[in-house]
Amino acid sequence: MRSAFAAEWRKLLGHTKAVSFLVLIYPVAALVILLLLQILFPVLVERAREMMREMPISWTNDLLWIWNAMNSFPGGTFLRMPFIAFIAIGFAGEYQWGTWKNIVPRQSRARLILAKFLVLGLLILLSLLLTSLVMASGGWLRAALLDIPFGPALVDLDLGSFLQGVVLQILLTFVGTLIVASYAALIAMYSRSIVATLLLSVGVGIVEYASSLLLLVLGQVLQRPNLVNIIVVTPSYNLDNVRSWVVNGVGSSFGGFPGFTAVLPLWLSVLILLVWLGGLLGGTAVLFRRQDITS
């Protein structure tokens, strides 16, 4: 397994264009935005400096911002799109380049697919971790330049519960990434094309989001507003719900969506996510194990 993982890691990192434009885009974009909007702009413009001084800086919020955004609904659906493209390259690329035939005979297929999931998931997590650090460092730099307080102080912070929150958010993002990677992998196995996998995987995300609107309309038409509650079975809602429980201590009300009442308890959302994850990962592994690798 270690060798399959090492090979996959080197291979994906070797695709510098994909890594640069689809994975490192987040920390780079965060850095550019920070430098331009939060540092350069206030340094050069007095009015902006005044505005910034009035905005409190919290490194805990800065650190968690990207994780919150990734796990929220519908924001996460759209923020994950560059990662979907990267996952599409990772899975469908092997078919399109005709390279499965080189590696499939020498490793167990289950290990190959697992290594791919892990490496893709870890690279995405690393990108988000970098983004998170860039944002926190940006806050610190802004505070130093503008001479404003940078809090909270460590003594005022319940470090244990903060770290627990961070770990849970990271874990949640990892689960969300693996779920997205699983359906991208399934689509890649059938389409064997990077572009088709990308379009269809993004399509699945949009359909998932659009289904809530569709259910809302349908509920109104059929005069059954509760119909929208069906959305609680989707991975996106449950990611948002777990995030909401972790961050706010209450379940997600789906942004106050009309007719939505079924706020799931934390344990049920975790269970639903695990079922999705197990089903999709298992399905991918079984399908790949039985698949003919033809050119």
Partner: protein, 344 residues
């Protein structure tokens, strides 16, 4: 190309020589009980369903002993690549079993690590260098050894181009890298599917020498699929010809070719000689020359018959059939007539 494997001159070896060597070499006692390197038992493979159903391989049975260079011949679409894919567990047979060294192939990566393959043209990650590609393949196969990668790159004549991105490689360069990739794990069995595709004549000759070297110096079993008959004739000990998914002929190259010899006799009188030989062999007369389809071992009997009937025999020439003729006969099909060019 100097300083690599390819430089050795083995062209003096002909098929008879190889056959003789093969027959004269005593088998080690352990080899007597060794399972064949490849064993296919009634293997069939069907793709698609309903009207799209294609039977690519039909009840194919085949055995390849360890240490041989085995040629696998067939026209395009005969089922060669499907058979190789089944040997490499890339696709599963619809029926029948594929055994390598006596063990079933499916879900057996440990067994397949004894096998190196170049299947249907070399394919690599074109965003990586040649060397990086080999490193990744070696790591996937649990056989990463930088020194071996260097050595293989040198052997296939790619050492000076290994640090260039594969996207800039020619087909021939990719094929050479593919050969190196097939040998990364120092395999006992090497399966090569059209290894000379895209190579220039010098490259083709290099690969021929390379293959013979692998078998003779390193004791590897080579399974060579090709439609280049001269290539197979020059390097293989045994061949199998497959057509429309079925095995149509198999055997030692030398035996198959001698079985198809043409004996040319210069005789007088030709008509009397024709009458004497025709009941037993297929004979075509051409002036004083008779062309008899027979085996080399029939020559003494022929001459004896003619001399006994007071026919004068001036010359006897045994003309070996080419593998091409054998192949054409074995895979003879009615070729569709080319469409007439439209009138201008």
């Amino acid at each position: 190309m100097t300083g690599n494997y390819f430089g050795e001159n083995l062209s003096g070896l002909n098929s008879y020589g190889k056959l003789l060597n093969y027959l004269m070499t005593p088998l080690p006692s352990s080899a007597m009980s060794q399972p064949p390197a490849i064993q296919l038992d009634n293997v069939s493979k069907t793709f698609g369903r309903g009207r799209k159903r294609v039977e690519a391989v039909r009840q194919l049975s085949l055995e390849v002993s360890a240490g041989q260079v085995f040629g696998f011949l067939g026209p395009n679409g005969a089922g060669k690549s499907s058979t190789i894919r089944m040997m490499m567990d890339l696709i599963r047979p619809s029926t029948g079993t594929v055994l390598l060294y006596g063990r079933p192939v499916p879900n057996n990566p440990a067994l397949l690590r004894r096998v190196g393959a170049l299947v249907e043209g070399a394919a690599f990650y074109d965003f990586l260098t040649g060397r990086k590609n080999l490193e990744i393949l070696a790591r996937t196969g649990d056989c990463y050894d930088p020194a071996r990668i260097e050595s293989l790159l040198a052997q296939v004549g790619m050492a000076d181009r290994a640090d260039r991105l594969v996207q800039g490689y020619s087909t021939g360069m990719k094929q050479r890298l593919g050969l190196a990739a097939a040998l990364l794990n120092d395999p006992d069995l090497v399966i090569l599917d059209e290894p000379t595709n895209g190579l220039d004549p010098a490259g083709i000759q290099d690969v021929r020498h390379f293959i013979r070297n692998l078998a003779e110096k390193q004791g590897k079993t080579i399974f060579l699929s090709s439609h280049l008959l001269s290539e197979v004739e020059q390097v293989c000990d045994q061949v199998a010809i497959i057509h429309n998914g079925r095995l149509v002929q198999t055997g030692h190259v030398a035996e198959l070719l001698s079985a198809q010899a043409i004996i040319r006799l210069e005789v007088a009188p030709a008509d009397r000689a024709l009458g004497l030989l025709q009941p037993r062999w297929e004979v075509v007369a051409n002036g004083r020359w008779l062309e008899v389809q027979a085996v080399r071992e029939d020559v003494p009997e022929m001459v004896q018959r003619l001399v006994a009937a007071e026919v004068q025999v001036f010359q006897v020439v045994v003309q070996q059939q080419s593998l091409e003729a054998l192949f054409m006969a074995a895979t003879a099909v009615v070729q569709p007539q080319p469409e007439e060019a439209p009138h201008a």
